[in-house]
Symmetry: C2
Subunit: 259 residues, 2 copies
Amino acid sequence: MPSLTHVPIGLIGFGAFGRLVAEHLAPHGRLRIHDPFVPDADFAAAGVVPYTLAEAAACPVVILATPVSGLAEVVRAVAPHLREGALVLDVGSVKVRPAAIMRAGLPPGVDIVATHPLFGPQSARGGLPGLKIAVCPVRGDRARRVGAFLRRALGLSVILTTPEAHDREAAAVQGLTHLIAKVLVAMEPLPTRMTTRSFDLVMQAVGMVRHDAPEVYHAIERENPYAAEVRRRFFDLAAQMDGELGEGEGIETRASLDA
Amino acid sequence: MPSLTHVPIGLIGFGAFGRLVAEHLAPHGRLRIHDPFVPDADFAAAGVVPYTLAEAAACPVVILATPVSGLAEVVRAVAPHLREGALVLDVGSVKVRPAAIMRAGLPPGVDIVATHPLFGPQSARGGLPGLKIAVCPVRGDRARRVGAFLRRALGLSVILTTPEAHDREAAAVQGLTHLIAKVLVAMEPLPTRMTTRSFDLVMQAVGMVRHDAPEVYHAIERENPYAAEVRRRFFDLAAQMDGELGEGEGIETRASLDA
């Protein structure tokens, strides 16, 4: 069984996150990158020679770095080219749905580990060490070994979990952050001068997710089975706060001041 | 006309923010602190000898560190004891209403400067230098001198503004931060393990305001004339995002997965 280090690694997807994967895995394996939507000129600009789907998918380790919404299609395309005993990983922001798609679509002789790096190009600017990644065993017994590699070689903080437990937590963590960020961006221009430290922190959080691809937002809010429920609680509580503020004393004192 | 340094300073109010004021002004003036709601034992524990209202209010500089909701009452109590030529300042989170209350209730021979330190006991833990304070001239010409003192003696970043301009910006800055924080606190327990950097920043912001006195929240949301409008925009946009997420593709794909 191949180890994750210094083996050929197939990377399907060379978008913003695929590039981040490539940058950090290049010292650890011989990458074969494939992305039919990236022009050759972009590959050339990144100093990378593109491979065909068949070449990339034939590696002992294959990473699917595509939007969750396109994963089913990629799995169908990749499946016929995979070798017996290969290890396939994804990097999507939700895990229940991708795990189900991979389990259903990848041949039985292939091991599957679903991962979610809890960071993006913005938050990884300062380097990977200390950043978190969720790792879920889906098929086979290689999740712990993947976790050990991510910990030792990349310095990541590894959270071994299940797709369900992941999506429950991510529904709150990412669902709320992205929703709040989306609303605040829509309210811009917001003040930049008379700000508090806490507002600055919120806007810093907004800055980290505002340039995420729309697919990331949609995966987080739509393809996480628990996200709608979290949004519902947020809106219900917000409406309740708003109702409380609309009543009583506040309006009275404002009226008496105007008088 | 007395300078702000090394004169007796009357401080009316010895709550969380009054204590912060006392701590930082002690090296710059002889403080006379009055707060009828703080027991003598608490003054003793803080190593402070309390003064009567008349003694504190007779200082050349008097700082009103009371909740905005109680300001009118404090102004009424303080007014008869103020000296001709005294300078009165407040430190409330909103400025239109307090400026109007002080202008209406303080004797004509008294100068008034309304201030809003854009920080609290949590955010001031690392020291004052670099923190922001809004300073609004209300009556007399001493606002610039107050600003110069706050800049030089305390290292604060001073924003000279008007009560109206202040409240417009604060309605977004504080109105949104406190509302979001209030909702997130109500949603607890929230995940602490599988978190992203942006979620951590949001929760750090929540941590800075969650222990604020309820009066602070009410002042920010109820006594700022522009806060309701900001809340309205936030809720309308959030509902719009929610509506968009509820439609189309998302539900379809989830249904097809379940099937």
